[in-house]
Subunit: 308 residues, 2 copies
Amino acid sequence: MNRPAFTIAAVERDTGVAKDTLRVWERRYGFPTPERDGNGERLYPADQVDKLRLIKRLMDQGFRPGRLMAAADEELADIVSSAPQARVATPTGDNLQMAILTLLKANDARALRGALNQAMHRQGLQNFVLETVGHLNCAVGEAWMRGELEVFEEHLYTEQMQALLRQAISALPASGGLPRVVLTTVPDEQHVLGLLMSEALLALEGASCVSLGTQTPIADIGMAASAHQADIVALSFSSAFPQRQVTPLLTQLRTLLPAHIRLWAGGSGVARCTPPGDTALLHTLPDLLAALSAWRSDNTDKAAEQTR
Amino acid sequence: MNRPAFTIAAVERDTGVAKDTLRVWERRYGFPTPERDGNGERLYPADQVDKLRLIKRLMDQGFRPGRLMAAADEELADIVSSAPQARVATPTGDNLQMAILTLLKANDARALRGALNQAMHRQGLQNFVLETVGHLNCAVGEAWMRGELEVFEEHLYTEQMQALLRQAISALPASGGLPRVVLTTVPDEQHVLGLLMSEALLALEGASCVSLGTQTPIADIGMAASAHQADIVALSFSSAFPQRQVTPLLTQLRTLLPAHIRLWAGGSGVARCTPPGDTALLHTLPDLLAALSAWRSDNTDKAAEQTR
DNA sequence: TGATCTATTTGTCCAGGACAAATTATGAAC
DNA sequence: GTTCATAATTTGTCCTGGACAAATAGATCA
């Protein structure tokens, strides 16, 4: 079967690699090597797009393009099988991972939802979020990289997990407690699971969460924080978010925010970055809970004022 | 207060206008007129970015850039106030609109959620989706264009409505009935409310819905349809989606899908487009219910086979 | 070992030209 | 006056090839 070819715009959409970057890769590394249509415009064969998708994900994990681009398909497969490090999990977690991946491959949406729901109720929401969801996300991503899952199966997983977390969050009582947290992601960061995991943990601890969803413009994040009288602005960055943008964005937002509003940035996207002054980098979810406790210790006065 | 300037990449993210387009507008229409930084790179003042955002939304409604770009700020305001046509609503709907907009301006997230929840329960899910949600979406968008709401307030609305619809959908029994529908949006279409509204209506009527969330690559939509043994693939297009892409995308997807799987495309984004052959264009939500009824009339055999 | 400096790698921006698809205007025929 | 085909315009996207700054890796020295 001859799969259709992609225009450069389609490749940008499907891989997340900018058009300018695709052209410069071709010039420098000799890959990809698109055909040309009648108008001299690039047409990327489907297998090259597949390879680009894989390369993009490996780059998100820290690999550099010069190496990856030179590598043949088999070398890439080697890299994939050697790279995964998030393979530490409890025995029960491993079993669940296997079960979830199996259900995903079988495309049994209802059983998948049931299994996730059951796991959440057995472990409790906090343990589920802290110990299971993150590992599951990684396991699904790695299974895709190994070619065991398709993109649409990843989408199904994300959608089911999102529905489950939102359901759990909706079921929590609206506490009205402190701190008041505004949650969102910056433009170009569309991953929502990190946001929902954070919201679930914070809401469980009795914080007042207001989520703006994903991709709020920087200036609006500042306005929202003031409008909602937030104590904290919490941002989530996935590993797919371009590293180079993180620091300038945080710096800009910090200047926009009143000094008394704390800025928290979390997720695997903040792994290697130097943030401005008092910005808190929360690399893992336990860090989020720790930061919450710390804030409460530092602000016993506000809590007292509230109960007044 | 001197708001900071934007790089061309930031303007692309915040307005949705491509970098190439921004440069060619500057060349042709003399707007925008960015400054230059030390390296000769464009720096867009914040007020020009605001104007670009407004221009983009008006273009999404069918206005052409040549006219808008020449217009001064006051003329744009005139166009905004003359354009809105979705101002037809029931008296009760109008009251609700006013109430919601007021709560949004007050940034009272909890009261907003309460009001939406109350409206949904009073009207019932079907009426709520059919008669209220769409009008509310429009009203919020228009209020933004008139400068009455900020972007972050729109985000808050979207997030609250999304949470409410997902909660309602989760509460519906998983029927297992026919038809089996795979719902998603194509890459570059990130609006999720249209998808959730459709899922709610279809699930209410006893169809089996599998949502893949937004932005599934075309090839994966095809694979997902087969994997889930779908009878129908339903896509949602917002008015912000580039019109020119709709027809080629639908055509490509049609060739990928087995002939027996129907393709439904809905939302305001399919208003002016000529789809391939038997693709159903569902301009409004009632059209969706009509299409569902029609499918069931045409497929009584399958329904009978299922009850067997 | 750790710190400072240099070299390489890498992504993004620029100019300005080109072209096809979509839209609007023009004109002919009924 | 309406309908249809044709011409003119508008508009977004793609192209080449050069440039540069920020990030990273490598080398040198204390």
